[in-house]
Structures are given as structure tokens and as C-alpha cells.
Amino acid sequence: MSRPWGIEIRGPDAAEFINRIFTFGFLKQPVGRTRYAAMTNEQGVVIDDGVSCRLANDHFYVTATTSGVGRVFQSMLQWNAQWRLDVDIANVTSAYAAVNIAGPLSRQVLEKVCTGVDLSAEALPYLELREGHIGEAPTRIMRTGFVGELSYELHVPSRYGEYLWDLLMEAGAELGIRPFGVEAQRLLRLEKGHVIIGQDTDGMSHPGEIGMSWAVNRKKPFFVGRRAVDILESQPAKRRLVAFQLPASSAQPLEGHLVLDGPDITGNVTSCEYSATLESIIGLAYANPDKSPAARLPSVSKVVQKSTPRSSSDLSTMPRTADRRCNHGDSTRGSCSQAHAALPPSSGPLRK
């Protein structure tokens, strides 16, 4: 049980403010809908991501990475000191507790305790958001998630956090509900190929490099970092973040290990885990883009094992899921502040 790293933007200029801060387009974001929100700095480097939730025409609730919310909040205040837009910017991280309930039976559990919201797939489709009650707790219900399952994020005033957890565990007991933790969540996001900002990015990563050009709106005139992103993406790519898959029997690369193309260093491993579902080692790594089409790692590349006597493994490629937007925005290196309850998973290696 914990806090969902939130910032509220309210006021007549709220949409304009969000539109300037994040790379996507938000002016036409419908009320009751969430949208992936990536943030670049003035150098065009991706520095944070999260989800923008539009609660009203003049009211946005934006999530940021767990460790990054303070930085994002300060950055927002700093920018608006220049822009002078008519908005109120409030860091409400402490005000909310969040639980992510995931799994094919999660809707069934929620239906037992939720009032005021139709949870059917038609009424609350993927990426939509509603306000209702779970038991007595006023709740923001988002059909988003980080784990590639049918998933709901439930955000309640923090005074209801423990109450919400107990209610869900009780309601889901007969369906086999179980808590799941950060490590499980991190593996599940890797299976679906979702990038964690700060883990899979560094101080040089721009949107095109990490396969996030889709999250950049080219039609709007401005966002923070727009000019730098345009310049960076007009240059030949120097590296690209790709997904890889290794046989279970191979040595498992560690995060930070180098990716070699012959004698040349072309990148490094950013995430790597063994996936029991896929029965193989999977990960993300930067690699030479010249020898690989998008999302492909050149077969000649090697991962250098630091702790073993230069044992190396050929890398094969793994498709990253096409739609990586079901992100709840948690991108903390090594920890996620949300609480999670999971139901038995569906079959299939890469679930959505």
C-alpha cells in the first residue's frame, strides 16, 4: 500500500499547461480518459513519464515516476513562473494511496465492492478513467496498468488506503487473490517490453532512441525540449533500445553489461531477467542501430559477462508489444511505490 506520485493541475489553463510540459498532445484529451505522458528536458532527453488523467475540462491528475515526482513538480513550478498560465499546481503524492489490481478476474473482484461505476469492458474500456466508490472510499479508477494484464489502478485518499486493501483482499479471497510485489511487476513489464525511465534510459536518451516517437506530437507548436528533440532526431541514430531474448541455459547478463559488435562497444544492457512464462532470459539493451531495423538486435552482437570469464551469448530478438501505453508511470529504479494485488494470470507469453 502506498503512494501514487501524483500532481494535480487545475484551472482555466490546465490543458495548455499539460500540453506544454509533456510531449504528447493533451488539448483534446477527453474528460474521463488517461493518456501516456512523457517529459523531456530542454536538451531533448526523456526525464520522466507517467499518465495524464483528465478529470474535468480544467482538472488534470498527472502521475510521475515514484522518485521523480518532486523533480517534476519543481520543474512545473519553474516553467509556470515564466509562462504565467492560470493554473494551480499541487503535489498530491501524500494525499493518495494506490492499489493496482491485475489479472483476468480483477473485474469480478472490483464489481463486488465498487459502486457508481459500470466496470464492463464497454463502459470502462482500456485507458479510461472513472470516479466512484470502492466500499466507502471515494476512488479514481483507471483502466491502466504496468503488468500487461487486465488491470485497474485504484487511487483513494490516503486515509482509506488500508481499508481499500483489506476490502479487496476479502472480496477476492474466493477467487484466489494474492499480493504481488515489485519484482513481479518489473518482470511483467519487461515481458511486455515496457521501458522504465531511469532504468532503461540515461542522461542521453531521447524519444526516438527508446522507441517513443509515437509519444511525441509533431503538430503542436511547442513542448519543453521540442527544439532539441527535433535536432536529435534529424541526426543519424547512434544507438537504439531493443528487446532481446536468450535461451534459459545461457549465462544471464547483468544490467550494465556491454553489448559488443566485434571489438566495438555498441551499447549496454539496461534490464535483464529470467522469465518463467517465456522460459528464457529477456531484457532490454542499447545496440547499434545501423545493423538492425527498429526493435531488432544484430545477431552478431555479444553481451559481455563481467562476472564470468568472457562467456558470451548470441542474442536473439524478441518483439516488443506494439502498444506499450498501458503504463501506470512508475519508473523508479528498483522500486515501485504502489501496492498490487494479482489474480491468476491468463495464458500466453506476452499478455496485454
Binding site: R10, G11, P12, H59, D88, A90, V92, S94, A95, R159
Partner: protein
């Protein structure tokens, strides 16, 4: 509550407001309004009604309207009261701001660091109010108990505090 029209809104609803930031005004019903900036006001409920009046505002007032924005402080802050003859001495162990009575008078507010944590300290007259992030509540509680140990300090229930302040 904050915003360009927050002062007008609160005045309309019968609150007496401090004339400058970092000041607090006790209300006739025992609640208190602290002014945290030019346009931000913190409302603290009265012990007499267990905060009912403020709780009602939370449900009855809109979360925001033009120039007035409510902030969810009930969920973000832990609120402790420090009373007794050694308040200033205890605070001197925890905070770099001089909080002796002749310097930090009733009605004054300090937004500062206490025990290395961001805190709002309000001299409410009979006691000091301390507000910290809820995540720090347990830490802060233990810090306070430790700091007042040498003065034979003891924790009080809310009811006991109410009686102490009334007497």
C-alpha cells in the same frame, strides 16, 4: 485552500484571516486559520467539535472553482500539539528557528525544518501545533517523545489535551 480568490471565499464563509503570511488567527469556535503565503490558507479544526466544521467544508465546498483551490491536507499532513512549560526548550533541540516566547509569539507561523523534516510550526497560544507529512508521522512521534524525555514529557490523548487547554 489557495488561489487569488481564496481570501474572499474564506471571509464569505465567516473566517477571520491573518493579515500577513506566516501568521495564524484563532477563530471563535476554536479552529485556526494559518496563512502560509500571500494566497494560501491552512484551516485547522477545533478540538471542541473534533474538526467537524472543517470536515463538512471538505464535502460541501467544490474542490476548485475560479481562483479558489482546495488542497487535500487532511490526507497529506500529520498534526501534533506540543504543550507545557518546556515547549521552547524542546523545540530548541529540534529546530534551528528561535522559538522562545519573546521571539516566536502566539499567532506566529514558521515553515521550517524540524528534526530534519519539513514542518509547519504554529504558536497557537496554549500550545505549538506541528504539521508534517503523514509519511513522517511515526518518525516524528518518536522524535518528539525522545526530545521531551528530559523534561518528563508524556504523550497525551486528544481528550486530555482538550482538558489541559481548557484549564
Amino acid at each position: 485552500m489557495r488561489g487569488q480568490k481564496a481570501a474572499g471565499f474564506l471571509t464569505q464563509h465567516g473566517y477571520q484571516l491573518p493579515s500577513a503570511p506566516n501568521q495564524a488567527v484563532k477563530q471563535p469556535d476554536g479552529s485556526l486559520v494559518a496563512r502560509l503565503s500571500a494566497s494560501e490558507y491552512l484551516l485547522l479544526g477545533s478540538l471542541a467539535d473534533a474538526g467537524q466544521r472543517i470536515s463538512q467544508h471538505e464535502t460541501q465546498w467544490p474542490s476548485h472553482q475560479s481562483g479558489v483551490y482546495c488542497l487535500p491536507r487532511q490526507d497529506t499532513h500529520a498534526w501534533l500539539a506540543l504543550s507545557g512549560p518546556h515547549i521552547s526548550a524542546v523545540m530548541a533541540k529540534l529546530c534551528g528557528v528561535d522559538m522562545r516566547p519573546n521571539v516566536f509569539a502566539p499567532g506566529q507561523v514558521a515553515q521550517t525544518a524540524v528534526a530534519r523534516a519539513n514542518a509547519i510550526v504554529i504558536n497557537a497560544g496554549a500550545c505549538f501545533y506541528l504539521l508534517v507529512d503523514t509519511a513522517l508521522a511515526c518518525y516524528f512521534w518518536s522524535v518528539m517523545l525522545d526530545a521531551m524525555q528530559e523534561f518528563d514529557g508524556q504523550p497525551l490523548s486528544v481528550t486530555a489535551l482538550q482538558h489541559a487547554l481548557e484549564s
